[in-house]
């Protein structure tokens, strides 16, 4: 692939509101995953591993962390003289500045970026998914089919199908029907939100879509259906392998837990398809004289004096003596005191847990305020928050970001309750 035959546009502006406090201050693609990565690392690494050397990252929601993470693209070898990674954020125009109204509008507003490089093909990605995929093979298929658009699809269960964009194809793989979130799915081939377009064709449709005031300016809802209506050559590219939309607390937790199985279905150890991320500058981790670590992944700079089981531990985490961490995700630089018990929880970056603390104990009760988000028994402690000595937190509890010990009304936070910054008590 010559380096401008195909470029990638990575849609990283989504909030991912179903991840609750985890995405309150950062965009979903910037959420930590898998012991040292952030979700966007997978798409970015796929790009460089597929030989794509020009990547535009479209940001909108809370981009600070994301921008800092990507920087000039060094970890992915995307710091290039020509191409490399470019952050494309919404900007002011002569007459009016506007936010990205939808996925298609985001790309429309950056037509000049693509035109300047003038690639033959564009691959549109979302920075929300965990998977490994060679986009160059998909491009090969796209060219072979002389397609205008190729959509990557994956076989899902019938139940899941009604939550996704579903394709119906003819035996050659040509798409004959596309439905966004159908009540009665006609097939189980779901769109993965990965599209390769012949740029000339897409450009035309983006312009047309922008002129339509009734359009949602969305790829799935508008661009794809209208191309299909016009009888454009659109093909499905079937993907086999691990692909997860870690859009809910439960899906996020499960996908992380899949990494600690004996032979994980998703292999991070593959030397031919490395996942890159900025490496923490920390020494190798240390397990103390009484430390126990089983069925877990542990990253650099950690110091484990207690017991860690079935957990994903990010860099720089400290676990004190006589503490047990179980079925949990502990993010970068968390400190957990002595004699504590952490069960089925997600601890955000820099959270400080005191001594004699219990988290994730008791009955499973849906969260009172946000039952749609916190309902699977997982307790979430937001970034840089404190859990005071002796506190007991139930299941489906949520602790806001930046909570201090003063914000707690009581050391006992039963299942389903929340603690907010500012400490509003009943």
């Amino acid at each position: 692939m010559s380096n401008t035959e195909m470029i990638a546009l990575l849609l990283a502006g989504g909030q991912g509101s179903r991840l609750g406090v985890l995405t309150k201050n950062i965009a979903k693609p910037a959420v930590s995953y898998g012991g040292k990565y952030r979700i966007i690392d997978f798409s970015l690494s796929n790009c460089i591993n597929s030989g794509i050397e020009t990547v535009g990252v479209l940001t909108q929601y809370q981009p600070l962390e994301l921008n800092a993470h990507i920087g000039i693209g060094k970890p992915w070898d995307l710091d290039r003289m020509n191409g490399g990674v470019t952050i494309l954020s919404p900007y002011m125009k002569e007459e009016v500045g506007e936010w990205y109204k939808g996925t298609a509008n985001a790309v429309y507003q950056n037509i000049h970026f693509v035109d300047k490089i003038s690639p033959e093909y564009v691959v549109i990605l979302s920075g929300d998914h965990i998977y490994k995929m060679d986009y160059s093979l998909m491009l090969k298929e796209h060219k072979k089919n002389k397609a205008d658009a190729t959509i990557s699809v994956i076989n899902v269960s019938y139940d899941e199908a009604s939550r996704l964009g579903i394709m119906k194809t003819d035996p050659d793989g040509r798409i004959i029907e596309f439905e966004e979130k159908p009540k009665v799915p006609k097939s189980t081939l779901a769109s993965m939100g990965i599209y390769i377009f012949t740029w000339e064709v897409l450009r035309e449709y983006l312009v047309k879509d922008n002129e339509d005031p009734n359009s949602d300016n969305d790829f799935g809802k508008n661009i794809i259906p209208s191309m299909l209506n016009d009888g454009k050559r659109m093909f499905a590219y079937q993907f086999e392998g691990y692909w997860r939309d870690v859009g809910t607390i439960e899906a996020f937790w499960k996908s992380n837990m899949e990494l600690i199985q004996r032979v994980p279905i998703f292999n991070l150890f593959d030397p031919t398809w490395k996942i890159y991320t900025p490496n923490p500058i920390k020494p190798a981790h240390y397990i103390g004289p009484k430390g126990v670590v089983k069925t877990s992944i542990v990253s650099e700079g950690c110091m484990i004096y207690g017991t860690v089981r079935n957990s994903v531990i990010f860099p720089g985490v400290f676990v004190d003596e006589n503490t047990v961490v179980e079925d949990s995700i502990v993010m970068t630089n968390c400190k957990i005191g002595a004699n504590s018990y952490i069960n089925k929880s997600i601890l955000g970056e820099n959270a400080i847990i005191g001594d004699d603390v219990k988290i994730g104990v008791g009955e499973v009760v849906e969260n009172e305020l946000k039952p749609a988000i916190y309902n699977c028994g997982i307790t979430v402690v937001g970034e840089s928050s404190y859990v005071p000595d002796g506190a007991e937190l139930g299941k489906n509890v949520v602790i806001d970001n930046f909570v201090t010990t003063d914000d707690y009304c009581s050391l006992n936070v039963p299942s389903g309750k929340s603690v907010f910054k500012g400490g509003v008590c009943d």
């Binding site: 004996r262 920390k282 190798a284 430390g291 126990v292 089983k294 069925t295 877990s296 992944i297 110091m303």
Partner: protein, 373 residues
């Protein structure tokens, strides 16, 4: 610290390092799970604000060059200054293989002449410590010294280990009164750390004079000979320091890193230690893993018993194995049922099923690189 440059001497091939240095310069020897010995002095220099650094190499410098690259991990890929690597070279005026440390520097005199900094910090590349050179330079200036040599009270080593160091004596004013390089009978226990501060002009003058007299070694032929005629002061350093100059010392140093206090001194307080990154996933522990008091790097997969050991990146420890008091380097695989005690296992070794290797705390067994046991 804009007015100092750094020179790192990595030339020496320490025969005391046996198989470990047969494939690499001692400065490139892996330490502490993910580092190479040179990372410490290099990071110390960078953390002290030194951005013009020359590395003189000689023996087996391939792995060292590979490790250092353009210096980007140390933020030394600079337009002005940055990292310079000087292997030996041939020329019409008869240079070539460096005959000694002074000769090595003299052969690259152009670099010293072209640099603009007033002071130069010369250091060996195989010491493990965290040191602020800015403080040392301030001390040097305050003392009005011609040369300042960092030293440390080495009474935490056995007397016989002192024979591998330079041993010096100081008077009440910290002026160095005696300096013996690798003495058979050390007169004291103050060990030279192989770190020297002086003005760049003075270094150039001393090198020219030394070579003109047909001498080659910086310590023997310059420092020791000039003890009376120059004001040479000692700078006492009290934190952790080890010189990787023998297998025994190498082993001891790695084992000492298992002490969290020492670990903190080196890696947390006063600046980070940088190294070349390898993009490994986090280490993975399976059900059977039993790990105690050990350092484990990224990319390891552990299913066995590991105690009091240092495991480098990408080591695989399979079920039913027992690893005690060992140093296992990058990419080594230990198959089921093997047991290792007091062993230093080099990179990419395969220990096949059911093997028993046992060394002695004072004399660990060495398994050379790419060996299949």
């Amino acid at each position: 610290m804009k007015n100092a440059m750094g020179i790192i001497l990595t030339g020496g091939n320490k025969s005391g390092m046996k198989e470990l240095s047969s494939v690499r310069a001692t400065a490139a020897i892996p330490v502490g799970g993910k580092y190479r010995a040179i990372d410490f002095v290099l990071s110390n220099m960078v953390n002290s604000g030194i951005t013009n650094i020359g590395v003189l190499t000689q023996y087996n410098f391939r792995s060292l060059m590979d490790h250092l690259g353009t210096g980007k991990e140390w933020d030394l890929d600079r337009k002005n200054g940055g990292l310079f690597i000087f292997p030996p070279y041939l020329s019409d005026d008869g240079s070539g293989w460096y005959k000694g440390t002074a000769d090595a520097m003299y052969n690259n005199l152009t670099y010293l002449l072209r640099s603009s900094q007033e002071y130069v910090i010369v250091s060996v590349g195989n010491s493990v410590c965290k040191m602020n050179f800015e403080k040392m330079l301030d001390y040097h200036i305050q003392k009005g010294a011609d040369i300042t040599i960092a030293y440390r009270d080495m009474s935490d080593l056995y007397p016989e280990d002192l024979t591998l160091l330079g041993i010096l004596s100081v008077d009440d004013d910290q002026r160095i009164t005696d300096f013996e390089e690798k003495p058979l009978r050390p007169k004291g226990n103050l060990g030279s750390m192989g770190i020297y501060v002086m003005k760049r002009e003075l270094l150039i003058y001393l090198l020219e004079e030394c070579i003109a007299h047909g001498n080659y070694d910086f310590v023997r032929d310059v420092l020791i000979k000039k003890l009376d005629s120059l004001k040479i002061y000692g700078y006492r350093f009290n934190s952790y320091w080890r010189s990787i100059s023998s297998i025994k010392m190498y082993y001891k140093c790695n084992m000492e890193l298992l002490d969290p206090d020492i670990c903190c001194q080196l890696f947390v307080d006063g600046g980070k230690i940088y190294t070349k990154v390898k993009d490994e996933p986090p280490a993975k522990y399976n059900d059977e893993a039993e790990v105690r008091n050990s350092i484990i790097a990224d990319g390891c997969i552990i299913e066995g018993n590991v105690e009091n050991s240092v495991l480098f990146r990408g080591v695989t420890v399979k079920k039913g194995t027992s690893i005690k008091n060992c140093i296992i380097m990058q990419g080594t695989v230990i198959e089921p049922g093997s047991s290792l005690e007091y062993a230093v296992v080099d990179k990419n070794v395969l220990i096949t099923e059911g093997k028993n290797l046992k060394g002695d705390p004072e004399w660990p067994i060495i398994v050379g690189r790419r060996t299949v046991v």
